[in-house]
C-alpha cells in the first residue's frame, strides 16, 4: 500500500524555482525522511502535500486518491508547536476533532485516552505556557495524530529542542510509531535524526530542490540509542556526508551553515 505518492512536482514563485521534479513515495506504516539544507523548499513541499498550495505540475495521491489542492486529509506539525496559548492542553489537542464536528465532551474523552502514551498525563488543564518545550512538541504531535492518525507529516518537529530533550523525543517517537503504526513523512536537516528514525531517506539538493539520492535504512527495529554508534549507522552516515559534500562542491558552496553533521 502507498500512503503518500507524490509524482513530478514542480513549483516556482515567480522567477524563483523552488521544487524541481520531486517524486516521493511513503509506503504504509513506513517512516520516510526528507533530508536537505534549510531553505531548500521542503516546507513548500509540505504545504503542497497538505493542500495549502497548488503545485505548477505533478500529482498528489493519498491512499491512492487525488488530493491536489485539497486540505483536510493530512495535517502537519511544525518546529514551532503552534499551540493556542488561550486554550488548555486538552482543548488544544481536541481542535482537530472539533473541526470534524465531534461534540466537545466526546472529543475530550477520546483525547484524554492518549495523554498517557504522549507523556502529557496530569497536564490536561494546564495552559501551553506551563509546559516544557518537549511537552509542548508532544502535545502538538498529539494534535496532529488526532487529526489523522494514519498519515502524518512532521516538519523539523524537534528542531528547537535542546540535544538531550531531542534524543529523548526520538526514542519516544519511535515508541509511538511502533505502537500506532502511522505512515510518517519527516523533514529534517539533522543526519543522525534522519538515519535513526527512518526506513527511507530522500536526500534533497539546495534550491531548486531535486532529489539527489534515495537511501534505504535497513537497520532492524526496535532501535535504541545504541544504533547511533553501530557500524551500519556509521557507514550510512558516511555515505550521506559524502553525498552532501559532493553536492556542496558542485554548487561551489559551503554546506557547514546549513547542515548539522
Amino acid at each position: 500500500m502507498k500512503a503518500i505518492e507524490v509524482t513530478g512536482i514542480n513549483k516556482s514563485f515567480g522567477d524563483l524555482e523552488v521544487l524541481d521534479n520531486i517524486s516521493i513515495l511513503v509506503e504504509k506504516n513506513h517512516f520516510v525522511s526528507i533530508l536537505g539544507p534549510s531553505g531548500c523548499g521542503k516546507s513548500t513541499l509540505f504545504n503542497i502535500i497538505s493542500g495549502l498550495q497548488l503545485p505548477d505540475s505533478g500529482r498528489i495521491l493519498i491512499n491512492g486518491k487525488d488530493f491536489k489542492g485539497k486540505t483536510g486529509r493530512i495535517s502537519y506539525m511544525h518546529q514551532k508547536d503552534l499551540l493556542l496559548p488561550w486554550k488548555t492542553v486538552l482543548d488544544n489537542v481536541c481542535i482537530p476533532l472539533i473541526l470534524k464536528k465531534i461534540p466537545l465532551p466526546d472529543a475530550r474523552k477520546t483525547a484524554v485516552g492518549y495523554f498517557k502514551s504522549f507523556g502529557l498525563e496530569g497536564f490536561e488543564d494546564a495552559y501551553p505556557s506551563q509546559l516544557s518545550g518537549g511537552m509542548r512538541q508532544r502535545a502538538a504531535l498529539l494534535r496532529t495524530f488526532l487529526f489523522a492518525s494514519d498519515i502524518m507529516m512532521l516538519d523539523e518537529p524537534f528542531g528547537a529542542l535542546d540535544a538531550i530533550t531531542r534524543s529523548k523525543m526520538h526514542l519516544w517517537l519511535m515508541n509511538i510509531c511502533s505502537k500506532y503504526q502511522p505512515s510518517v513523512l519527516f523533514i529534517t536537516h539533522d543526519i543522525d535524526e534522519a538515519i535513526l528514525l527512518s526506513d527511507k531517506i530522500y536526500l534533497f539538493t539546495k534550491r531548486p530542490a531535486r532529489i539527489k539520492k534515495t537511501i534505504g535504512v535497513n537497520i532492524p527495529r526496535p532501535r535504541s540509542q545504541d544504533v547511533l554508534t553501530s557500524s551500519q549507522f556509521q557507514a550510512l552516515k558516511a555515505e550521506v556526508i559524502n553525498l552532501l559534500y559532493e553536492e556542496a562542491e558542485e554548487n561551489g558552496n559551503n554546506l557547514g551553515n546549513n547542515m548539522s553533521l
Binding site: 486540505t71 483536510g72 511544525h78 488561550w86 470534524k100 505556557s129 506551563q130
Partner: protein, 256 residues
C-alpha cells in the same frame, strides 16, 4: 477578592497621605482662604454635604460616559474587522485615523454642541470619539499580530474563516484590546465632562462650572474627587474583566 495592603501598595499610599497632610497643614499655616484653595478635610466635608446635590449630575455623567464607551467598543470592533479583512480599506483609512488623533477634542467639542444641541447626544458623541481611537488602534494591532503559520495549520485541518476568527484572531487580539480598553475607560468620563463643560444642563462638568462661577471652590474639588473615583472604578472593572476573559495571561509560566 483578596485585598491586603502589600508592601508594594504601602509606598504609594503613604506618599499620597503625606501629600494630603502637607496640603492640609499648609492651608492652616499660611491661612489660605477656602475660595482659593480649600483644605482636604473641607473638600471631604463638602463631598458629603453636597452629595445629594451632585447625585443627579453623577448619574448623568456616568450615563453619557457608559453609552459613549459601549458604542465606541461596538463601532471599533466593526471598523477593525472590516479594516483587517479588507487590506485596501485599511491602507486607505489608517493614516486618516492616526491624523485625526492629532486634533484636540476640546476644539471639536463646541462644533459638536452647535450641531447636536445641548442634550445628551453631543456628550455621548464626544465620549465615543475619545474612546473610539485607542480601542480601534489596539484591536487592529492585535488582529494583525496573529501568527500566519498557526492560521495555515488550522486551515490545513479544514478550519473555516469563522472558526479562525473565533479561536485565533479574537483571542490573540484580546491582550491588545484590553490595553486600549483601559485607556478608553478612563477617557470615557473625561470625554463626557468635556462635552458638559462646553454646554449642558446637567452632569458633573456642568456642576463644576456652576460651582466655579459661584466661587464654591470646595465643590469644584469635590467634583474632581468624584470624577477620579469614577474613572478609577471603570478602569478597575475593565481590569477585572481582563482577568476573567484571559485566564491564560495570569498564570505563572513553567510552574511544574
Amino acid at each position: 477578592m483578596r485585598k491586603k495592603i502589600s508592601p508594594n501598595n504601602l509606598v504609594p499610599i503613604s506618599f499620597i497621605l503625606i501629600l494630603i497632610m502637607f496640603w492640609e497643614l499648609s492651608t492652616i499655616i499660611w491661612k489660605i482662604p477656602g475660595y482659593i484653595l480649600p483644605a482636604p478635610s473641607g473638600i471631604i466635608k463638602t463631598l458629603f454635604s453636597a452629595y445629594s446635590l451632585m447625585h443627579p449630575h453623577i448619574i448623568a455623567t456616568l450615563k453619557e460616559a457608559f453609552i459613549g464607551f459601549s458604542l465606541a467598543i461596538i463601532l471599533s470592533f466593526i471598523t477593525a474587522f472590516i479594516m483587517d479583512s479588507i487590506p485596501l480599506v485599511k491602507k486607505a483609512i489608517y493614516p486618516l485615523i492616526i491624523t485625526s488623533q492629532t486634533i484636540p477634542i476640546i476644539s471639536v467639542a463646541p462644533l459638536i454642541i452647535i450641531w447636536f444641541g445641548y442634550g445628551i447626544l453631543p456628550k455621548i458623541l464626544i465620549a465615543l470619539l475619545v474612546c473610539f481611537f485607542p480601542i480601534l488602534i489596539s484591536l487592529l494591532d492585535g488582529l494583525a499580530s496573529t501568527d500566519d503559520e498557526l492560521i495555515n495549520l488550522l486551515k490545513s485541518m479544514g478550519a473555516n474563516k469563522i472558526f479562525i476568527i473565533k479561536n485565533v484572531k479574537l483571542p490573540s487580539a484580546l491582550p491588545y484590546l484590553f490595553s486600549g480598553l483601559k485607556i478608553s475607560a478612563s477617557y470615557s468620563i473625561m470625554g463626557a465632562i468635556i462635552g458638559e463643560w462646553v454646554g449642558a444642563k446637567e452632569g458633573l462638568g456642568y456642576f463644576m462650572i456652576l460651582s466655579q462661577k459661584s466661587f464654591y471652590i470646595d465643590r469644584v474639588f469635590s467634583a474632581i474627587v468624584v470624577i477620579t473615583i469614577l474613572s478609577l472604578l471603570i478602569f478597575k472593572i475593565v481590569c477585572i474583566l481582563e482577568r476573567q476573559l484571559m485566564p491564560w495571561q495570569f498564570i505563572k509560566e513553567n510552574d511544574h
